[in-house]
Symmetry: D2
Subunit: 138 residues, 4 copies
Amino acid sequence: MSGTVRFGVSIDSRLLERFDALIDEKGYVNRSEAIRDLIRNALVEERTMRDDAEMVGTVSLVYNHHTRDLADKLTDHQHSHHEAIISTLHVHLDAHHCLEVVVIRGRAGEIRQLADELIGTKGVKHGRLMLTTAGEDV
Amino acid sequence: MSGTVRFGVSIDSRLLERFDALIDEKGYVNRSEAIRDLIRNALVEERTMRDDAEMVGTVSLVYNHHTRDLADKLTDHQHSHHEAIISTLHVHLDAHHCLEVVVIRGRAGEIRQLADELIGTKGVKHGRLMLTTAGEDV
Amino acid sequence: MSGTVRFGVSIDSRLLERFDALIDEKGYVNRSEAIRDLIRNALVEERTMRDDAEMVGTVSLVYNHHTRDLADKLTDHQHSHHEAIISTLHVHLDAHHCLEVVVIRGRAGEIRQLADELIGTKGVKHGRLMLTTAGEDV
Amino acid sequence: MSGTVRFGVSIDSRLLERFDALIDEKGYVNRSEAIRDLIRNALVEERTMRDDAEMVGTVSLVYNHHTRDLADKLTDHQHSHHEAIISTLHVHLDAHHCLEVVVIRGRAGEIRQLADELIGTKGVKHGRLMLTTAGEDV
């Protein structure tokens, strides 16, 4: 069963002062929230190292939409993986450039491979993958 | 004036073989495209170190939508920065969890600060910022 | 004045279970030590973003010692920055390859620049910089 | 057989200008050297994702040498892995703090585990692992 518990952390007072200054700057309302975020980050980071962990990936792609066939290729590519690709956000950055954020769900290894294919598509100027939790595990 | 030019790279043949294997695995159609991606990555990475560089950020946030007031807080927060936040994608991960991808445009330092505030909002389980080009500079 | 203090963290019991499993796997003897490490990591990461923060950098360079003049160039380079470079460790990896770990002390921006110069020296096969604390600040 | 070969890269002239400015700033003598470094980086990065890849790791540890038994524990720990740990560099940062750089050779997964154990030792203030090539593979 789940529920809120409490544990104590002993720490040097000067280290705690510096941490308080950091979390204040980052806008946290209290230490518990900041500590929980550090814990969740550590757990997510650990999972990204395991190819078989069920995760969610967001791939951000910037490309010039005048590039011949590129939008079609990206769309085709996404449709052929429609069971893994949940959703796509398209932003018009300027007269030429688009940002496309593709949300993928699956095992970390599969997400990485699909992200590589999207990023490697001729005409994509910059692309990067960010892996996060699918929710339940943190 | 802009246009396509060509330059030569001298390289050890075994290193080139390994690179060819890598780009084949990643799905690149040719070496030029793969090299251009490495170059653009290096340029984007350099810009992310400079707080005043005009960039685009995608912040991925995972949260439990049952958390009291969280969705409202995130929406309020985004509206009070509506000039910087371009668009938001919302995905229902399961009965409890949402993924929200927020696209922010501005100087790298400002994007980082706004991302910190969103990630630090009480109830957000995991959040991460990915900075990319606004298009023109690569 | 410095001294050990204690603060409490409230957390979901399942999240704590997962954290306990992670820190057990990583070999931590207790939660406080693991939490302090997460806190120090966050502080060090924050400092690496500020060019004027006093830090210590370790640059790891792998090179082929048969490369003409390379060892001399690296040595010259290090001597011309002798006030910043504290020490160097040299490891013979195989008949051809050396690993050189150069420890640099100074402001984060200066360390990065010197590291770039060392890594960019013709003949260096791979190089990377790792920034850490000079001790007092965490 | 190995030897130097040459290949051509076609690229937009403005992108090339920006790359030239970047590599000039980083101190590269020519484009080929900069491109080879990008290629080697990509190869090393790919290998760090594979737990069974033979690599070299440098673990940088900062600790307070007054911490009871810490130096002994770190030494014991390293001796019990003497076949993997090649060498250690010790730097006195100030009256209290030491930097220890431990060079480990082995499979990426084993290096990571040993690094986790060293970094997790009670009293180590900050630690980080950097993986690089063992030489032959790039």
